[in-house]
Symmetry: C3
Subunit: 210 residues, 3 copies
Amino acid sequence: MLNLILDIIGVASFAVSGAMVAIHRKADLFGVLFLALMTALGGGIIRDLLLGQTPPRMFTSYVYIAVAVASALAVFIAAKTKNDLYRRYENRLDRVDNFFDAIGLAAFTVSGAGIAVSTYGLGNPVLVVSMGMITGFGGGMLRDVLTNAMPMVLTKHVYAVASLAGALVYYWMLLLRLPALLCDLTAGVLVFVIRVLATRYHWNLPRVDV
Amino acid sequence: MLNLILDIIGVASFAVSGAMVAIHRKADLFGVLFLALMTALGGGIIRDLLLGQTPPRMFTSYVYIAVAVASALAVFIAAKTKNDLYRRYENRLDRVDNFFDAIGLAAFTVSGAGIAVSTYGLGNPVLVVSMGMITGFGGGMLRDVLTNAMPMVLTKHVYAVASLAGALVYYWMLLLRLPALLCDLTAGVLVFVIRVLATRYHWNLPRVDV
Amino acid sequence: MLNLILDIIGVASFAVSGAMVAIHRKADLFGVLFLALMTALGGGIIRDLLLGQTPPRMFTSYVYIAVAVASALAVFIAAKTKNDLYRRYENRLDRVDNFFDAIGLAAFTVSGAGIAVSTYGLGNPVLVVSMGMITGFGGGMLRDVLTNAMPMVLTKHVYAVASLAGALVYYWMLLLRLPALLCDLTAGVLVFVIRVLATRYHWNLPRVDV
């Protein structure tokens, strides 16, 4: 149930983010829906393939696809009609996109780690943390690759590090046998807060000058 | 048997299309063969992975690989020797590529949907339609990503919509218990005709001006 | 045991190659680690997915991830501190990258083919050779796609052909029931030597002038 809610939040957020990128890249209506679907469902599909759960749950339920399509359609209609809400945020597109991307990253990191735990238990922390991270930024990476952009995860301020921190804290809290809801919330909020602060204050990891 | 024939038509068409793109991008002989193979087999491989059928059937039979390599070699030799047939179509490269791409899309859409039905039955229309579409444009998407081009599916006139329409009609005809051959032919022709007409008459879906 | 050693050599070499490309593309510390991990583990992950072995072994052991992270960290620290060794090779970056890439290609080609044989036997040469090649250049292809570069495998001198030759020789030697160690070494050295000679003497396959 928790996983379902997290997945739906992640799907809606990433669908909005994917739709905005697609509109910005002059994709047509279908391109907008398609990129939104890939961004929203990509991470979960990659996770399910890696865990050997086929067909991926994203294909076995109408809910995810319906939520993604509805979210993307709402963005498309708002952009097409230039309604007040959209116009108000037009100049802050990047910030809005980052906001939804951070929510999606948080929800999917927790949901991905949770599904790995419910399938293979707590015996393999590498698997749990990897599945959290891959679910978290797999869809965004697909979105970037499909629009020929350098993946956000390679360049943005502490993007994957936020996901890594959340997944580690989640795993550690589960080991301590804390209640599932508390683990989900703490880890999710942690990912979101790190991402938002990193964007706001331009946190950077060290890099080599070339 | 029907699936086999459809797959072979799809493989040959996409191999030709992949080889032409590779030659255009100055790939060497191996690059031409490789991109042809990825374009021709990619959609089916992604479908089999998603359906949990491993190893993908593209690796368990010589037929697909042989057909793809032979088609790509024929294109390469025609281009290298600048033979009459090739010269005649050189200035219409884009149209020829679109033609083969449309045949491949049609054949693979029907074959992918058919394999989903034969594996999981008619209970999950989302899965059937998704598998048809992914098999249909998965290989072309790989081709575009590998050559750093914006995927055709995001930009071309009603590309994925053609595949979607064909897969939906196919599913609906199967529900009505119509003969398999009729379903295959109707859906395949539908995909092909929509794609060709969309290219010919520059059909476009709505888009947002940015 | 042999497969483990080959995998570790491949992981370390590709991690170095991936880290160097990432530094060159101005990725931050995490970007460097991430691209190194994708380059080092990508080929094996794709192979395991295609063979239906989930979760991929790269996630079930600390060894691979630890080796990849340590290799990438060493490159990052060397580059950041501009130490003597790094400075000495700075102007020959491309050559060093090619050297490690060739070792990784050789080790992974043999290991990938070996795992296919140990899973499905010698009955399907197409599968054995494909798995060798995909394991060999899958990670490098991911690295190139993620950094928006035309994949090396499509453009570099006889890159995939080296892998193909090694995998074929490996399969043929196994058929002759030669000792496993001899098969591994012969095929691996063959891949490495072909790649190095092809780079050194600018071997090219025929291509069409466009």
